[in-house]
């Protein structure tokens, strides 16, 4: 089975802190994604990466950055956490297109609270 592991299920951070959310996948997938999930807003794409050191902005990149130094690991960075970044963060991975994108596999999520 594909496994996407997020380093923490719950995090509490203070306003202004630099926060790192880590995600590791074990299936050698090229694509990795970070979403945030908020009630009534569904999943919104923050960033995605299609290869090591490659990234593209999603729909809501402001206040976030990402790092992908190794294929299996994709980190989301909140440069200076703010209370409006309190949310559930979901990491996903998917195989590179071979003409077809098959599906995305999700981690269990990290619930981040910024106080």
């Amino acid at each position: 089975d594909v496994k996407v592991t997020q380093s923490s299920r719950y995090l509490v951070k203070r306003t202004g802190e630099k926060v790192f959310l880590e995600c590791v996948q074990d299936m050698d997938h090229e694509n990795m994604f970070w979403y945030r999930q908020d009630p009534g807003l569904g999943l919104r794409l923050i960033y995605f990466s299609y290869d090591v050191k490659m990234k593209e902005k999603g729909d809501i990149p402001e206040g976030y950055s990402v790092s992908r130094e190794k294929k299996e690991r994709f980190s989301l960075i909140l440069e200076s956490a703010s209370t409006n970044q309190t949310s559930m963060y979901l990491c996903a991975s998917s195989p590179l297109r071979l003409g077809v994108l098959t599906e995305a596999f999700f981690g269990q999520g990290t619930r981040l609270t910024v106080v």
Binding site: G42, L43, L90, V100, L101, G107
Partner: protein, 113 residues
Amino acid sequence: AQSVTQLDSQVPVFEEAPVELRCNYSSSVSVYLFWYVQYPNQGLQLLLKYLSGSTLVKGINGFEAEFNKSQTSFHLRKPSVHISDTAEYFCAVSESGDDKIIFGKGTRLHILP
């Protein structure tokens, strides 16, 4: 750019009754379509997907969906729901040649006894 609209934020339905969860998408190119389910306090799990071929797609737990290109829809159906189907359901789209997957806002399915 692609987008997804889930027309109902919540759908109540009696146990053993049929249900349809609606999804419309917007795209100017070929698309791949997905339905995911999120049970309470769990991650997202793939229910079914349309990549090509037959427009009627069958998934897990008795769900199916039909791709309608002319109406740009991908509605999810189940002929008889069970209390265990209580969850939030997300429709998602990816455009051919683009590996982004864009999700709708979700539909909460409430099963009434």
